[in-house]
Symmetry: C2
Subunit: 332 residues, 2 copies
DNA sequence: GGCCGGCTTGAAACCGCTTGCAATGACGGG
DNA sequence: CCCGTCATTGCAAGCGGTTTCAAGCCGGCC
């Protein structure tokens, strides 16, 4: 069940080198040998062993794809785009799930053992130290959805979370909300930190707006719901900027359950524009991340870093925009 | 940037074989050499090249994971469980996205080139010919969420879709619905065919119940919504069994938009119990697939088939159950 | 006709690791 | 004290490819 180079060579009556050459482009083979080899190969159903060739070429064409929250619907889009994008370039994704807090060092070792050509970390909650560990191991790495840095240590592709916070603040102010709040994910996530910073920063110039902040324990529906239930015990704000659509939907649920209406009693704006946000019974006003662009850039960046390992770390940020639906009151 | 067996051997002052043996368990090495080798290895930061060893052992410990609908939230659960399950057994998933109808032969070739040890096809919409192609290529393969067969050609793990159709029918009859209908996914999917067969079959014995069927163009929110909008033009049934939760949510949306209520005017029961089904603003009554069990069994099956390639094809089905929420009227 | 240069080709070394085999050495029993 | 046994070890031959190198071949030119 394994037809090899040698088999093809024998059947075609040529040397193994000849066969190898007809399958590596840019190598010098005469049309005649090539056709002999191709005939033999197709008769035998030969396909070169990619792993064996990786031994000498040093390229496996495999890219490690690392994610840690498999429960956020956004990751669906991410996986779809990543796998397709990689496949289009003849690369294969080796998937790593960091859900259960495994030791980062383990995954680094594992990916080195499998000699992936590069690594893409797709997470807005992992610290940058994580991507750095790959870089330290000599692997080209891109942190997608990572934190912006003026002097980055590794490639970062994503959005400007501070600007998103500002954008949310503006959206709320423009609609005349006077008491607003941030409802974020875990404080430890850089995305949370940046979003709240942008949000508060933008509102620092509006003394007439009252602002507060609280944090859910995770980027999940339940956490968002629980947190909003808490908030409803007290005097809630007029509108909330939720650090993630899942949180927003959880909050929405809590508000409905409390017999209040959105946006009548409370306004809500999320972040991500996950697929479900447009479902009519949700109709979440949110800030859209340009996922496709981010992923495309991440792949492009990892590929060019594989080709030129010396390439200095780079940050690529893509603009977000507010998607207006039905959880904020209309603009005046 | 690649420390090899040889480097470790030299530093430890032993032969390459000795080093190799200390890293393969079950090999005979004295405690003394072992410790020398381990010391040298850790000093050098050595990790054996899994791909190189696969050349001689014939095992890569990589499993191909094939999916074709990256937009159904259920796949999130599937990916999470699969990656974790594989990681727990020291295996790695090589992900293949079949979204864009690529030639099956291509993926077979690709997975053979990468010498995966086995393949898991996770899809309820792919024809079984697909899994068969892998088998024909000599690869151990399990079709998860595939169609039940008494004399299967490949391993199948999943649910009894016919029984699910029956279960849905019973749920509707028990609640006294007199005009019911099936709202399925694409006719070409075996899962659709089986579900409708079970549904209609169960109702064949109830002449007092009026039953009909229609099919959405895909397993998506939009398709479900569009199909329900069509149905609402005419006289809709009292309750629908939707072949997938996504369809059900789309239908739910269409019904709301038409100013009707669920379950007041129309009842809805879905299938899958995707994560969003329990969101309060959806509250979908549905039939739950035991995804975790299915995936666990799929992994177990592929692993044992790798160990014993002669193992005859097997079918493992797991029972589903109705999850009662708020889209069907209460039991009398 | 002879010579030069370029395109093809095969032999052989190597990529990093495993493993069969034979040699070595330690150890216990007779 | 000698010998057989057995665990340990190193050598060397692969695993399935790629690639360097030198040799072979061809046509074209003088």
């Amino acid at each position: 069940m394994g037809v090899t180079l040698k088999d093809v060579a024998e059947r075609a009556g040529v040397s193994r080198s000849a066969v190898s050459r007809t399958f590596t482009d840019g190598a010098s083979v005469s049309a005649k040998t090539r056709s002999k080899v191709e005939k033999a190969a197709s008769e035998l159903g030969y396909a070169p062993n990619a792993l064996a060739s990786s031994l000498t070429t040093g390229r496996t064409k495999m890219i490690g794809l690392i994610a840690n929250n498999f429960h956020n619907p956004l990751i669906l889009e991410v996986f779809d785009l990543f796998t397709r994008g990689l496949q289009d370039r003849g690369l294969r994704p080796l998937l790593v799930n960091l859900s259960d807090a495994t030791d980062p060092a383990d995954s680094v070792r594992m990916l080195r053992q499998y000699s992936v050509d590069g690594v893409i970390v797709a997470s807005s909650t992992l610290p940058s130290s994580f991507a750095l560990a790959f870089k330290a191991a000599g692997l080209p790495v891109v942190h997608a959805f990572g934190r912006y840095a003026t002097a980055p240590d590794v490639h970062v592709v994503g959005i400007d979370n501070v600007a998103c916070g500002r954008m949310a603040a503006e959206a709320l102010v423009q609609r005349g909300y006077g008491r607003v709040a941030f409802l974020g994910g875990p404080r430890s996530a850089t995305s949370t930190q940046d979003r709240v910073a942008g949000f508060l920063g933008a509102l620092a110039g509006c003394p007439e707006v009252h602002v507060s902040a609280s944090y859910a324990s995770a980027y999940t529906f339940d956490a968002g719901r629980t947190e909003m239930q808490q908030l409803l015990q007290d005097t809630p704000a007029e509108a909330y900027f939720c650090g993630d659509d899942l949180l927003a939907v959880g909050a929405l649920s809590a508000i409905h359950e409390a017999g209040l209406s959105v946006p009548g009693d409370i306004g809500l704006i999320g972040l991500n524009d996950m697929e479900m946000a447009r479902w009519q019974m949700i109709g979440l006003t949110t800030i859209r991340q340009p996922v496709a662009q981010i992923i495309d850039a991440a792949i492009a960046l990892v590929v060019s870093t594989i080709e030129d390992p010396g390439r200095p770390p780079e940050t690529r940020l893509f603009p977000c925009r507010v998607v207006e639906r039905q959880t904020l009151r209309a603009l005046p």
